[in-house]
């Protein structure tokens, strides 16, 4: 889904950007900014940090565009955005902020039968705003490495191989991080099931 070789028009824009044409680069950025921003937002957790990471990433992308060697331009940009997010998170670690979710210990509690509503279509979240918020918190509770893999896979739809390429890690690492991340998000939801009342029927 996420990868596609560049179209002729895109190739022309990339070539122009490589020779220093900022307008051409901004046109490329405009095409991908919503998807890139969504990635940054899910990794960083808030709009301010996501915007900072985006801005830094795009500047770095323009400066480093000579390093783009074909393939999916979106995947290349994604790599730069995730790098910018890593940098931003590292900076944030140096001035640690107390986070309740970070201290949160997953406890599934006793087995409770839940009736899970079928997840269908974009209207699923129309009446479940709180579920979307809870999922967002669940993503934020993940360790960075797992969070980034989860966002690239389950939010952006990249394949295992593409993620391995973007993050420059072995395929096995992608698989294990994703598996652990999904389990933790699931456990987070189960541990907060009281917040899901009305969203998920408990029986």
């Amino acid at each position: 889904m996420a990868s596609a070789a560049s179209s002729p028009e895109e190739t022309r824009l990339i070539e122009a950007a490589r020779s220093g044409d900022l307008e051409a680069f901004n046109e490329l950025a405009r095409r991908y900014q919503d998807r890139l921003y969504h990635i940054a937002y899910r990794i960083m957790g808030d709009h301010d940090s996501a915007a900072d990471a985006m801005q830094e990433a795009l500047i770095a992308a323009f400066r480093g565009i000579r390093g783009f060697r074909g393939g999916s331009f979106m995947a290349w940009l994604t790599r730069i955005v995730t790098n910018a997010c890593y940098d931003e998170l590292r900076r944030r670690r140096r001035r640690p902020q107390a986070s309740l979710d970070a201290l949160f210990v997953v406890d599934q509690g006793p087995e409770v039968e839940m009736t899970l509503p079928p997840v269908e279509g974009p209207e699923f979240y129309a009446e479940r705003r709180e579920l979307a918020d809870l999922l967002h918190r669940a993503i934020q509770s993940l360790p960075e490495d797992q969070r980034i893999v989860l966002v690239l896979s389950d939010i952006e739809g990249y394949s295992y191989e593409e993620i391995a390429g973007i993050l420059q890690v072995p395929l096995g690492t992608v698989k294990s991080r994703l598996s652990r991340a999904r389990m933790r998000v699931r456990d987070f939801l189960l541990a907060h099931r009281e917040l899901l009342l009305g969203t998920i029927r408990l029986s």
Partner: protein
Amino acid sequence: MRFFQRLEKDEHRWVQDRLSLYLDGRLEPGERARVEAHLRACATCARSWETLRWTVQALRALPPVRAPRPFLVRPEQVARAPQPAGWFRRAAWAMAAALILVLGLDLILSAGQIIPGPAMAPAGIPATETEQKALRAMEDHAMSPIPSPAPVFGLAIPQATPTATQQLPATVELPPPSAPAPSFSPLRVLEFLLLLGAIGLLALDRWRSQRPR
């Protein structure tokens, strides 16, 4: 009995570890059959599978978050684009300049000697003690414009940028000119190291300019 309990526990764990791959259809047929057989037989793992699949579906259906404003790069933000890569290149040029100076010095010194300098002496030729003494004397003579080991850098570097001066001592490990290595002229070693350093710095510069971040 405990052995079988343990086996069963291992099987649960084995299946749990593969549910994510199973969800993505990334298991080999044999593994897939094993997971499916276990899920049919084990209610706990079946429940775990159901909640995991639901969670991933819910994640995938999360509504997209659009960029709140256009993110464009302004010319002033990239006006000093070549700057970050410039340091390595400047250091490389400084090294190249130093190399030319040392080469020049070497040339002058070897032109001054009618007999080939110590570095030219074939290592295989046996030398008497007197000859060796003479060679060392010659070498000392050749080194005379350079007062001590450290200031060798001083010859070239004043022409270079100040940043390069700080870089050089770390990069170039020069054996003292008086080191007892008669078959190797310290000048040659210095030339070699400078060449190596310049090439290395240019490569670093290229790598940095092409790296996205």
